[in-house]
């Protein structure tokens, strides 16, 4: 690690892509203060800033590992741009969740098929899909099935799942990830369509 701190950002990025996990640690430590300060300056809430910081670095890691990063400037600027996009997404999501009034429109906003009850056919398709998913879930290894059931049938958070199953949050998240991959593979093997619409 000591030797890595002497390396440039570009060298560390290449090291991480090549499989050296220590390189990303150095990059995070080197740039955490500036990136976090920017996020906090915008959102002004420590917890929200931490969520954005974590999500930004998760995107950074995914991009690097998937070989989609093209070195076009400073590493910290690139990460800040990702964080910036997440902040804007957050603002827009908040805006869309604001109260809307029908009085401001010449037509009835709520007179839309989207707000009507589902037809019998849609209900049947939904029921069939849920039944198929249930059957596929039963084929999963025990620890993965447990996480899926706790998350989607019992609506527990990953923190609660981790506590109940005596594993770390990362392990619970990993099991869910593997479960979803396996479910997709199982559905494909059996030619089962899991599309509702």
């Amino acid at each position: 690690m000591e030797k890595q701190t002497m390396l440039s950002d570009e060298q560390l990025v290449k090291g991480f892509v090549a499989g050296d996990s220590g390189s990303i640690d150095v990059l995070i430590e080197r740039h955490k203060a500036k990136i976090f300060s920017y996020i906090l300056m915008c959102v002004k809430q420590q917890e929200l800033a931490e969520d954005v910081f974590q999500e930004a670095f998760i995107r950074v890691i995914r991009t690097l590992k998937n070989g989609r990063y093209s070195d076009t400037g400073k590493f910290s600027s690139w990460v800040m741009r990702i964080a910036h996009n997440l902040i804007i997404d957050h603002y827009r999501k908040q805006k869309n969740q604001s109260v809307i009034s029908n009085d401001n429109y010449d037509y009835d906003l709520f007179n839309s098929p989207r707000f009507s009850d589902q037809s019998i056919e849609e209900e049947m398709v939904k029921e069939q899909v849920l039944q198929s998913v249930g059957q596929l879930v039963n084929l999963l290894p025990d620890n993965q099935r447990e996480v899926v059931i706790m998350r989607h049938y019992r609506d527990l958070s990953f923190k609660e799942i981790a506590e109940e199953t005596n594993v770390s949050i990362n392990t619970a998240l990993g099991r869910m990830r593997y479960a979803l991959m396996n479910l997709r593979r199982l559905a494909e093997e059996r030619n089962i369509s899991l599309t509702l619409a």
Partner: protein, 68 residues
């Protein structure tokens, strides 16, 4: 509960754009003694994710049911 108007969100976006340009221009070394830092748990999470993450295309090559 305070209500935010569309204008408030526009202002927030403009603020975020402004701060991005400011921070982008500041040297990284300026932040070496800053007190604004994320929780250690967040940093540990991100580092753990970096170690655990495998791109999907690599995992799909392995085939079969993945048991962790």
């Amino acid at each position: 509960m305070s209500k935010l108007s569309t204008q408030d969100y526009v202002v927030k976006e403009e603020e975020a754009n402004y701060w991005l340009s400011v921070f982008d221009a500041l040297p990284d070394t300026l932040f070496s003694n800053t007190m604004a830092l994320p929780n250690q748990l967040i940093l540990a999470n991100v580092k753990a994710f970096a170690r655990a993450y495998q791109p999907l295309n690599v995992m799909e090559l392995e085939g079969g049911i993945v048991i962790n």
